[in-house]
Structures are given as structure tokens and as C-alpha cells.
């Protein structure tokens, strides 16, 4: 059920796009107005969310340490898994953001008779996760060719590299296939693995189905339901230079692609996809484990919280302390001594 609603939602979006592509008024709305709106919401929403996190204080320095801390000079420490300064934190964050360091640790636990627990290596999630994200990145960068004139060299290089196998005409980009494969894997594990299936929400299936459809519509309009690429470039250049024109006869599949992409952009800041920004700000990862060497300041530290005072403590237990021979600040009054 949880996968059904998102599936219907994506189908509905496709239907809207197909219908819209046949009606000239709606064409402009979907091909020009919607992208502007989507991009504005994405940018505004993304910035808003990041600012909201950034302005929330970090009261305590709470890195999760995954290696030996800096202590005695002769003890070998682990600067990347237990960073002690900003530079080492940058190193840790690089591994985290670009290589998915934590996910690389993944194991799979099994329980058998005995009971006997075992933990096997499990790198699939890491592998497909990284394939997915990098393919997506390359595809986004390749699309810059649509919005730039002249096309920057790095975009051409990426394009060339991505099509290096020189298969098919037009050339097949590896990332298109890898992206679809990786998303299919990520979707498949949610549907098949009992734990994942139980915890997954419609909000987990929707972005996967959406991205899969985006990839698929992109591939379809390149090889099957071909669109007029010159006209597309004319449109996107127009959008990028804020003088949009909508050429005739682009082809309906283009509108499907655009509507889905715009949906993703609009959905992004309101969803878990914000992990893209959040990963940089996670206090357990982006802080130095130099806690005892450098004091961290909590902006809302309450100076009025004081311990139960020694004076009050001694007042309560003075008699016992004196009797046991423990030193005290104030001796017992003579009268009390008599009562004893």
C-alpha cells in the first residue's frame, strides 16, 4: 500500500504532463512558468532549511568517535575517524560526503541457533548508494549544456567521459543506465527486505519512483519518443537568459520529463532529500574531538544551575564526618557535642 500511492502520484504527474503538452496554453505553463517556479521553491526552500539549521545552536560538542583519540604522544591516533582539529574534520567530512565512509562500515547481522549472532560484511547499500548519487551528479552536470552558451569545457569533458563506450546512436550515457539500475536496487531492497519493507513510508518510495521516472523519460525522449533537441536548447537557453520562448513541436515526452523534474525540485526542500544539506551540518560528524583541550561554549548555558553546595552537605552530615575523623570546614558547636 505504501508504494501504491506514490506510484499513482507519479502516474498522475505523467498524465498531467501528457495532457498539458497537447494544449498550447498549458505548454507554456509547464515548459516555462513551472520551471521558474520550481527552481525558485527549490532554491528558497533549500536555503531556508539550511539557515534554520545553521541558526540553531550547537550547545555541546558531541562528535561520535570512531577511532583512537589524541592523548599520549606515543599512542597512534586516528585523525580521520577521530579528528582533533578543523583540518582533520574536513578530512572526515570529505570521506563522509564524497565516499560515504559510514555506510562503508555496514554489516549484516544474522541470528542462528545457540543463539549465535554473526555479522557479515555488507557493502551493497554503499555501492548502489554511491553509484546512484554519482550518476545523478554527472547527469545534472551534463544538463548544464542546455543552460550555457558557450558550453563550458568541463561539461564537454564529462559528456565525453560518460559516453566513452561509444555505444548506440545517439551515444548511450553509462550514467543513465547506472542511475536506473541503482534506483531499481534501492527500490527493490525496500520492497524485499523485511526490515526495510516494514519501516518504509510513502515518502521513501515517492522520490525513488520519481527519480526513476525522470531517468526513464529522459532516456525515452533520446531514443524512443525523440524530441526536437534544437528546440529544447532554444527553450532552455531562453529560460537561462530570462527571455523564454517556447518553440513549436518539442514533443510530449519533454513535457513529461520537465514536469517530473520540477516536481522533484519543489518536493526537495520539504522532504528527506534535504539530507544533501544536512550531512554537512551533523554535529556528530563535523566537530573536533578536542573536548578536553579546548572549551566549547554553549550559548544558552544557564549559570543559575548550581550543584548542591558543599556547605549544605557538610551541615547535614557534619556530626558523622567529625565522628569518622573526616576533616570539616566548620567544627561542631559545643552544645551539639554534649547532646551526643
Amino acid at each position: 500500500m505504501k508504494v501504491l500511492y506514490p506510484f499513482i502520484a507519479v502516474l498522475a504527474l505523467v498524465a498531467v504532463a501528457l495532457v498539458g503538452s497537447q494544449i498550447s496554453g498549458l505548454q507554456y505553463l509547464l515548459g516555462v512558468a513551472l520551471p521558474y517556479l520550481a527552481f525558485a521553491i527549490f532554491l528558497g526552500g533549500f536555503v531556508y532549511r539550511v539557515l534554520q539549521w545553521a541558526k540553531t545552536p550547537v550547545p555541546f560538542r558531541i562528535p561520535t568517535t570512531c577511532g583512537q583519540e589524541k592523548s599520549l604522544s606515543w599512542i597512534k591516533r586516528d585523525p580521520l575517524d577521530c579528528p582533533n582539529n578543523k583540518l582533520e574534520v574536513v578530512g572526515r567530512m570529505f570521506l563522509e560526503v564524497f565516499l560515504f565512509r559510514s555506510l562503508f562500515r555496514n554489516t549484516k547481522a544474522e541470528i542462528g541457533e545457540g543463539p549465535q549472532l554473526s555479522y557479515g560484511s555488507s557493502k551493497y547499500l554503499w555501492l548502489f548508494g554511491i553509484l546512484f548519487h554519482y550518476s545523478f551528479l554527472v547527469i545534472v552536470l551534463r544538463h548544464l549544456r542546455l543552460f550555457t552558451e558557450p558550453i563550458p569545457l568541463f561539461v564537454k569533458v564529462i559528456e565525453f567521459g560518460d559516453g566513452i563506450l561509444q555505444l548506440g546512436a545517439p551515444t548511450i550515457y553509462q550514467t543513465d543506465l547506472v542511475l536506473l539500475g541503482a534506483v531499481a536496487f534501492l527500490l527493490g531492497r525496500r520492497l524485499i527486505m523485511p526490515q526495510l519493507r516494514y519501516l518504509s513510508l510513502p515518502a521513501d518510495y515517492f522520490p525513488l519512483l520519481l527519480i526513476f521516472s525522470i531517468g526513464l523519460s529522459g532516456i525515452l525522449m533520446r531514443w524512443v519518443f525523440r524530441v526536437d533537441i534544437v528546440a529544447v536548447k532554444q527553450l532552455t537557453d531562453g529560460i537561462a537568459s530570462f527571455s523564454p520562448v517556447l518553440p513549436d513541436g518539442i514533443g510530449p515526452m519533454f513535457f513529461v520529463h520537465v514536469v517530473l523534474v520540477c516536481t522533484l525540485l519543489i518536493y526537495f526542500p520539504f522532504s528527506k532529500l534535504m539530507h544533501m544539506g544536512g550531512v554537512f551540518l551533523s554535529p556528530t560528524r563535523n566537530m573536533s574531538n578536542n573536548n578536553r583541550a579546548v572549551r566549547h561554549i554553549n550559548p544558552w548555558n544557564d549559570p543559575n544551575i548550581k550543584p548542591h553546595s558543599y556547605a549544605a552537605y557538610e551541615d547535614e552530615f557534619r556530626e558523622f564526618m567529625v565522628e569518622a575523623g573526616l576533616p570539616v570546614e566548620k567544627e561542631l558547636p559545643p552544645a551539639e557535642k554534649k547532646e551526643e
Binding site: 561520535t64 583519540e69 599512542i75 549465535q116 519501516l199
Partner: protein
Amino acid sequence: MALPKLEELSKSVAKGPSLMTGGIPRHDWLETTPVFKPENFPYPTNPKRLEYLGFPNPRVWSPEDEDWKLPENWKDIILQGFKERIDKFRSFRIFMDCCVRCGACADKCHFFLGTGDPKNMPVLRAELIRSVYRNDFTTAGKLFGKLSGARDLTVDVLKEWAQYAYQCTECRRCSIFCPYGIDTCEITMMMRELLHLVGISINWCMEPVSNSNRTGNHMGLQPHTYYENVQYLAEDIEEITGVKVDVPFNKKGADILFITPSADVFAEPGIYTCMGYLILFHYLGLNYTWSTYASEGGNFGLFTSNEMMKKLNGKMYAEAKRLGVKWILGGECGHMWRVVHQYMDTMNGPADFLEVPVSPITGTRFDNAASTKMVHISEFTADLIKNGKLKLDPSRNAHRIPTFHDSCNPARAMGLLEEPRYILDHVVPKWHEMPENTIREKTFCCGSGTALNTDEIMDLRMRSGLPRANAVKFVQDKFNVNMLSCVCAIDRATLLSLVNYWTPGVEVCGISELVGNALILDGEQKRETGLRFEPLAGMEG
């Protein structure tokens, strides 16, 4: 509560229908209601404790009752508290927003591995509160409701929070596997803080907190009793070694204030660790002092609220200042070191009246503690050994074949991994590591941390401790390991129940016990027993 039958529990864990054994629950997690049984929730706090500590809404209530006697406006209280906390803690807000439910954390939790309960997957534990966050604090939740995984805060939801906030030991193991570093510890802390607002808490947590506040230690030992206990241990040392050791208390002008969890003073096997400290300090001729006022290293405030943690922790610096010491030395404890390492300086610093710790024996300056001015006993001891200052006879520990249990907090909230190992290398003839996925940063919790080491939930504790016990069993079978060493007082108490249950024949000790046993004192008699009065190897019978 009695211990569950070993055979039944073994079968239930490995074969019973659970998400761990491949069964999928029939009901959506958003729609299930919590079930409280006598053995799955600790006793609620005695209202008198809450009154003493100033926590709101104290009352007598029972988790098994339908009516928890919540204050009328409980929902407003919780939601307002929620809002305050997402505005105060970036960690909390980001962890509410960022999870993609990839499931990498799912089978990393010892509670999940031992119970197979889906809501013990860290991701779902967090979703219990995230679902309310989405409902009340996000646009998507308000627009799409259930489709975005949002749900209204109901009494059942609140009960669920209580249930699963007390089936998490804030061990942070899931956090190391999370691609965004989402730390369930932070989430559990917040859930517990919110529950406290409406008077829901457990006695095993609040009683030590209130004792600690009043008498200085968890058990509520009054100064003279505490002092006498340490003296008894000194007498035992004299009997075993023939050497009389000093027990300096509340001594002004000492160089070093020593603070350790009070369990080391009164509970087996912690007392043997304590004897280890006393022997070491005597050997060194250290000018140090114990304190009866700051007689608790542990801080159950960590499991209660950040305010309470600060209040209890404040005693350490206050006492160091009153006694005029130069720096503080801390004993073996897990959560104590989380507080000392990650919170103390921020909360109660700057300790500008103390000096950067320097070992009076080796001259080593502990720059890593330059601001907090508190050094871990393992750091201190490792430095002594490295500088050749300790005369050690490891053969006196030949009857022990230890393994080493990394405690959650020193491992994942401090990075103290090598020091205890280095010490072990020098005080025992041989020791063995447990399997790779169960040690160091991947270590498994004893299963009973964060004030869950209470007897009424034994079934739960034996389950949550299973991953740790299972790894011990592995080295017991393979290397005849008979001693589980650690640097944590809660561990010393809880691992004992755990190994007695799952791996009989294994004992539990602190590293300092092994140090004390190996340390050759000037003028000592020939030792025939260890610190537990157990015969040494070759001295049996």
C-alpha cells in the same frame, strides 16, 4: 523479577517470530499500540524523589494501567517542550529532518538483535518521535499527513515513547553506521526529557540522581560510610600484600582529586578495581585525595536531562576548588567519561583555578586535558608504564585469561581505545580480543546502561546484552577466556549478571584490578592470592 529460563530465552531469540528472524509484523508501525508487561518497563519513580528534585507532575502511576494520570494539558506541555528543544539543539532538529530511512542502523542495535522488535531498530525508535515532529512542525506533515509519515500525538504514542526511550542505552553504536551521523542517543535523551515534563520517569534513574545530589553518590552512602568502605578495602589490601596503604579523604592541599564511580567503593567486582587504585596510588606515593562530597564519578543526570547532568557534575569542579587541588584524576567509568569529556567543561567550566594536568611521577603534561583538567586513570597508568615507572609481575595474573570490553562512551564519545589495551599488554601474560565487529568503535553495550540495570527487567536485559555475551562466548570457546575486563562501573555490575547468565565461568573486572594485582610493592609479603582472595596460579590448594 526472576531471570528468564536460559533454554526458553535462547530459543525465543533465535527462533521466535520477530523481525530479526524474518517475520514481518502484520500491523503498520504507525498504528500499533504499546503493550506493557511487568518485565518490560522499569518501575516508575517514587513521586517523593521527583518532588525533591523539582521535576513537574509527580504522582503514583503504573505503566500497566490504562490511565497514566497525565496532567490535563499534557499534550501542550509536550509540544511546547518539543518546540523549545528543536530550537535549542541543532543535533535534534537535523536528526528529525535528515533521516532517509536507509535502514543501515536497523540491525546495529543490541536491543533489536536481542528482541527482534521492529521499534528497536534505531530508525523506528526515532520515527516514533519524528512522526510527531512531522505532524506538528513541518509543512509536508501538515499538507500530506499520514502519507508523509506524520501522526497526531496521542496517549498511545506517548506511551510508546516511554517504552522505547527506555529500551535504548544511548550507546551510539547505530550512529557510527549512519551516513548522516544521526545519533539515537540524542533522540532518546530528548524523548526522556519530554517525558519528564509530564512526570514519566523511572525510579532506577531518579533515585541515584537524588541520592547523588544529596549525599554525593548514587547509593546514598553518607560520608562516614563511604570513608569506612574505602578503609575496609585498605585493610583487605594489607592482608593480601602486607602493606598498609593510605586512604586520604577531603584533604586540602592535595595535588590531585580522585573521583571514581561510587560502585567501585561498595559493589563487587568494582571494589577490586578500587583496591587496584589504592595500591597504585600508594606505590606512587601520590599526594592525592578522595572526596566524600564529590564521591560519585557517575552522573545519572546524563540519562535524565541536561540541566540535571550539569547540576550533579558541578560538584567535581566545586570540590576541586574547595580543596585547592591542581587537577582531577578520574576512575574507570563509561558514562562518567562521556560527561567529563564532552560536557563538563562546557557546562561548568572554565576550570581556570586548576592547572594543566602534569603527572608528578613522569612529568608528562596531559595537553589533551589542558582545558578540562581531568585525566582518565587509563591515560595516567599507560603513561606510567610507558615511562617504566611501574614494577609489574604479570604472572600474578596468570590465572586470568582476559578479553577487553570497550565501553560505549569511552569508545564512541571519547576515543579511548588503546590505553586500556596497552595496560593489559603489560599486566597479564596474555589476553584475547573479541571479534572485530564487536569491539572498539563497533563495541556492543552491556545492554543495561542509562539506568536500565534494574532487576525487574531481566528478560529485556539478557536479550539486549546478548550481542556482547555472544562475543564473549566466542573467545571463551576459542581461547578459554575467563575474565571480561573493562573500564566501566556500570559494566562491572551489569556484565556480571550477563556473563553469569549466558557464559558461566567468565568473571568481570576493571583494568585497575589487574594492575593492582601485578604491581610489586616495596616491602610486600609473598602474595598467595589476588585481590579477591582467590589463589594465584600455582598457589591453588
